[in-house]
Amino acid sequence: MSTGTLTGTTVTSSAAPRASKGPRRRTARRVLAAIATTVLLVIVAYPLIWLVLGSFKSQDEFLNNSVFALPESWSLDNYATAWTEGNLGTYIRNSVVAVFPSLALTIVLGVAAAFALQVMVWRGRNVVLFLFLAGIMVPAQMILLPLFTIYVRTGLTGTLWPLIITYTAIGLPLTVFMIATYFRGVPREIFEAAALDGAGALRTFLTIGFPLIRNAIFTVALVQFFFIWNDLLIALTFTSRDDLRTIQVGLLNFTGQFGQVQYGPTFAAISLNVLGTLAIYLVLNQRVMKGLTAGSVKG
């Protein structure tokens, strides 16, 4: 009883002075936080806003108006020029044709392998798992030259196959690693019960394992999509012909195509590349953030 009163008095006595000076300090803190947040968001967003505004400006506006000026009109001419004269349509098509098959292959092969390595029981699985993980650290430069030699010898260089094959193989270590981690989180009893009920291993994988981590698979696929779609090195090495270039390689060579820098179409081309990713990101931002931070081992 007496201790109760004691703590009661100390609380009120210490709370009283705090209450008198609290609100002002809190407001000051809030204003500071608001200013810091605004500065941060301007740093992040301004370059992108400036980019998109630029995609609407004419060459004349670029050379004569202030860089901070708004575009005089909002026509899509620059986008049309980028699409047709800049071959952007072809580049995007090539990217789609190279990225989605490799994405599907990486996921199917990787998830199956992760199941065999994490859920199934056999000697030597840790060695194989380690072999896959070692691939995360190997710089792509280490495999470029042998692959280039093989692709030239087999005549694959005139197609998009080198990209599909290389992306799939490079994506496997991270996919196996991440999916195996998800399988580790599933209670073993579920798989054992399925086995007891008479399901074979393949059936257990297809009807139990795969659906159980469906969401995880989607997240991993999203991460791999960003890695492959944004790749420059592999695409630069294995696409010798202009009509096979992916969007990133095409963009890299974009300014050169017009001779003197055509600012409008260049800005439009960059904007298209950015806006596409922005759309995916805005819809799926929670998953992208979670997936990328979980799968960041690839660096």
Partner: protein
């Protein structure tokens, strides 16, 4: 039950395709590339055996030294800057914005997913000086400074590279470190605060030690990623002016594909791989020592 989950045929069916593809496209080429280091020539002109000549060349090649030095400098400075910026942001999210940080986190993260080539071309325009003055130089003029020709010297190009990479990646490290920070029990911080700990003491003695594992993970990611830097350099400066911003990755690419020296290119790639491996081992080892001391 163990018979089912140990079914050899099922293991072969599930693991086989991935293992075969991975071995053929990653493992075999790594060994093959290692073999290339003893040869000179390329796929078109043919190869001849030169023994250790490529390694001797690597030791005496001033351009290789320059590339190695750039790579190491870039990796160290950028790691400190981007993880530092990410940590500052994460602390800002946790202690200042608290529950309201969701939208800010989402927006600051966005540059992480933008293709590097697009970011690099954007930054080229932002820092442009001629034929047109870009926003950055306009701002410099506005505050009474003279505009800088950023891409005309190695030092200033390095600065733009750093700024760009930090802009691109700080949101990523912020989210990663934020995840580590919110795991710290609130009572711990609250009780330290009641004991009269200053903000600085709080960060130094409680927040940093408790977020050390995720901080170390960030360092490993960052160093590994920055040692392999390629896209941003190629798209922003293409290694120039001269070869002042050429990392090992780009130097390897140039020797192999521009000069057709596969053997020497592979030797540079090997140096890069060893570098990545060493750094990872060193950080993991120091992390383990820290864990046992704690």
């Amino acid at each position: 039950m163990n018979r089912v989950l140990g079914d050899r045929r099922a293991i072969v069916v599930l693991l086989g395709p991935a293992l075969v593809l991975y071995s053929l496209v990653m493992l075999v080429p790594v060994v093959w590339s290692f073999g290339y280091t003893a040869f000179e020539g390329n796929a078109i002109s043919g190869f001849h055996f030169v023994g250790l000549d490529n390694f001797r060349e690597l030791v005496s090649d001033p351009k290789a030294h320059e590339a190695l030095w750039f790579t190491v400098r870039f990796a160290l400075v950028l790691t400190v800057v981007q993880v530092g910026a990410g940590y500052a942001l994460a602390l800002f999210y946790v202690f200042v914005l608290r529950r309201r940080s969701g939208l800010v986190r989402t927006l600051v993260f966005f540059p992480v997913v933008i293709p590097t080539v697009a970011v690099a071309l954007l930054f080229q325009q932002l820092f442009e000086v001629a034929p047109r003055t870009g926003p950055v130089n306009q701002l410099l003029e506005l505050v009474g400074l003279s505009p800088v020709d950023w891409f005309s010297a190695g030092g200033t190009s390095f600065v733009v590279l750093l700024l760009m990479e930090t802009w691109r990646s700080m949101g990523f490290y912020a989210v990663l470190l934020y995840a580590g920070l919110i795991d710290i029990p609130e009572e711990m911080i609250e009780s330290a605060r009641l004991d009269g700990a200053s903000w600085l003491a709080l960060v130094r003695h409680i927040v940093v030690p408790l977020s050390l594992p995720v901080l170390l993970a960030s360092l490993v990611f960052s160093i590994n990623g920055t040692l392999k830097v390629f896209d941003s350099v190629v798209a922003l400066t293409s290694g120039g002016p001269g070869s002042t911003t050429t990392p090992l990755t780009l130097y390897m690419f140039q020797t192999s594909f521009a000069y057709g020296q596969y053997g020497y290119g592979s030797t540079i790639a090997l140096l890069l791989s060893v570098l990545c491996l060493l750094v990872t081992l060193v950080i993991f080892r120091s992390a383990r020592r820290d864990a046992t001391e704690a």
